[in-house]
């Protein structure tokens, strides 16, 4: 599960092109995005991705080996029963989709079977959510603030959580290249 904002697009695209094609877990992407761009964003991420990138419909079942991108102007929850639930409730940290809400609901659903990653971004969205991941025993990775285009998001995350790893984008990439799904 990856959250990011300004400066995170390229890192995410690189992760998607590095990830093993036979990945048998889902990836959740919650990226702050332009509200009015409907298909362009998912297309751009799909371009070099090794796995399908999909914006889920409300109540869509979660399948392994896919990257799910939170749709514009909706919050994306991981609902019990392994489905997505979308919401149009108010923005959190001025953001909809909110990284916090995706992370919190995923942490509650997957508990310690979750990896939460926070990348570059200009606000604090995701800090609380990553902390939840940690509290539920999941693995937490934060992009090194010094490596970020915009370090606000990473710094906010690190203020609340002692992340398992603080990685540069390159190290994050290497981590995902080698990811095996009898996983942490």
């Amino acid at each position: 599960m990856i959250g990011g904002s300004a400066g995170s697009f390229q890192v995410v695209a690189n992760i998607l092109s590095a990830i093993p094609r036979d990945l048998d877990i889902p990836i959740f992407l919650c990226l702050h995005r332009l509200k009015h761009v409907r298909s362009g964003f998912v297309e751009a991420l799909s371009l070099k991705s090794n796995i399908p990138v999909i914006e889920p419909f409300d109540k869509e079942p979660i399948k392994p080996g896919r990257a799910y991108l939170a749709p514009a102007n909706y919050h994306m929850f991981i609902e019990l029963g392994n489905r997505f639930a979308l919401s149009t409730e108010e923005p959190i940290n001025h953001s909809r989709p909110s990284i916090d809400l995706t992370f919190i609901t995923a942490a509650q659903a997957y508990r310690n079977k979750l990896i939460g990653v926070i990348l570059s971004g200009a606000n604090k969205d995701g800090a609380f959510g990553l902390n939840k991941v940690s509290l539920f025993g999941g693995l937490t990775i934060v992009q090194d603030p010094l490596d970020c285009d915009v370090k606000t998001m990473s710094e906010a995350a690190l203020q609340l959580t002692k992340a398992n790893y603080i990685f540069s984008a390159e190290k994050i990439l290497n981590y995902f290249k080698k990811i095996k799904t009898t996983n942490s």
């Binding site: 509200k35 889920p56 102007n73 108010e90």
Partner: protein, 276 residues
């Protein structure tokens, strides 16, 4: 306004709240999507500085007017006016002209109306096209508080900027600010626009749904129902539509497997369906 993140109620408490509401008021929320509804309960508790779930349950049980406020507060409003401007352009340029030609005074139903944003968007569209008296509009709301709120024209200030941006993308004929005024720092929409709209109080079961409807506009409300209730509601919608009637859902909603037996997709980009 981010209190919802820190405070959580447990699942047992959540179920108890639903149980008490059902027993006291015969409103059954057990088929509402869990995470969203639980968050709404958590919001109300914090909004009213209620001590804990037991206190909420007592208050709900004993204070009938609080229950009405509660109903209004747990409902989720639409996010803005002219949300998805391309949908409104499609309505203006393609679907409504066809509808007006096909049927004399087509009826448009907006169920599960909460903030009035979709309603006011529609009437502004119609007004600008000179079609206000060529259609009939009926809208359903859960209770009188919600109806009064919409009729008052109150327009949430935080929605103004995004709505104006949307209106620009919609390419409206004037300015969105032509349709509201600011009074005491509060935006109030021109309620003369909705003077001919029929407001219906409708409970959770959709008893006495409107009939002979040509178009149902119900975007991003069924997402707060479980699949089961969502499917039941689609059947109700289908029954209320005339042959060849239309249903418009939110961009990221689908009719699903059951719903596909009542509706076929006619415009994928704008989530427009037609009664089979």
């Amino acid at each position: 306004m981010d209190y919802s993140l820190d405070f959580e109620i447990g699942i047992v408490d959540f179920r108890n709240i639903i149980k008490v509401i059902k027993e006291t008021y015969d409103y059954d929320f057990s088929d509402y999507a869990l995470i969203s509804l639980k968050r709404r309960f958590e919001l109300v508790i914090q909004l009213h500085n209620i001590k804990d779930t037991d206190s909420l349950i007592t208050k709900l049980h004993e204070d009938k007017s609080f229950f009405q406020s509660f109903l209004q507060e747990i409902a989720i409003e639409s996010t803005e006016m002219f949300r998805d401007p391309s949908l409104w352009r499609y309505l203006r340029d393609e679907l409504l002209p066809i509808m007006i030609k096909e049927v004399s005074k087509p009826k448009i139903w907006i169920p599960l109306c909460v903030s009035g944003d979709e309603l006011f968007t529609l009437v502004i569209l119609l007004k600008e096209q000179g079609w206000l008296n060529l259609v009939e509009i009926v809208t359903s709301c859960m209770n009188d508080l919600i109806i009064d709120h919409i009729k008052s024209g109150l327009f949430r200030n935080y929605k103004i900027e995004v709505s104006e941006d949307n209106y620009g993308r919609y390419q409206g004929k004037a300015k969105l600010s032509n349709y509201y005024r600011i009074s005491n720092d509060q935006a109030i929409r021109d309620s003369s626009l909705i003077k001919n709209v029929n407001f219906v109080k409708q409970n959770i079961n959709f008893d006495n749904s409107p009939r002979d409807i040509k178009l149902i506009l119900c975007r991003n409300q069924l997402i707060y129902f479980t699949q089961n209730l969502h499917d039941k509601t689609l059947k109700i919608f289908s029954d209320s539509l005339i042959a060849g009637g239309y249903l418009i859902l939110g961009v990221k909603e689908q009719t699903g497997h059951m719903g596909a037996s009542y509706f076929r997709l006619v415009n994928e980009a704008e989530s427009v369906y037609r009664k089979i």
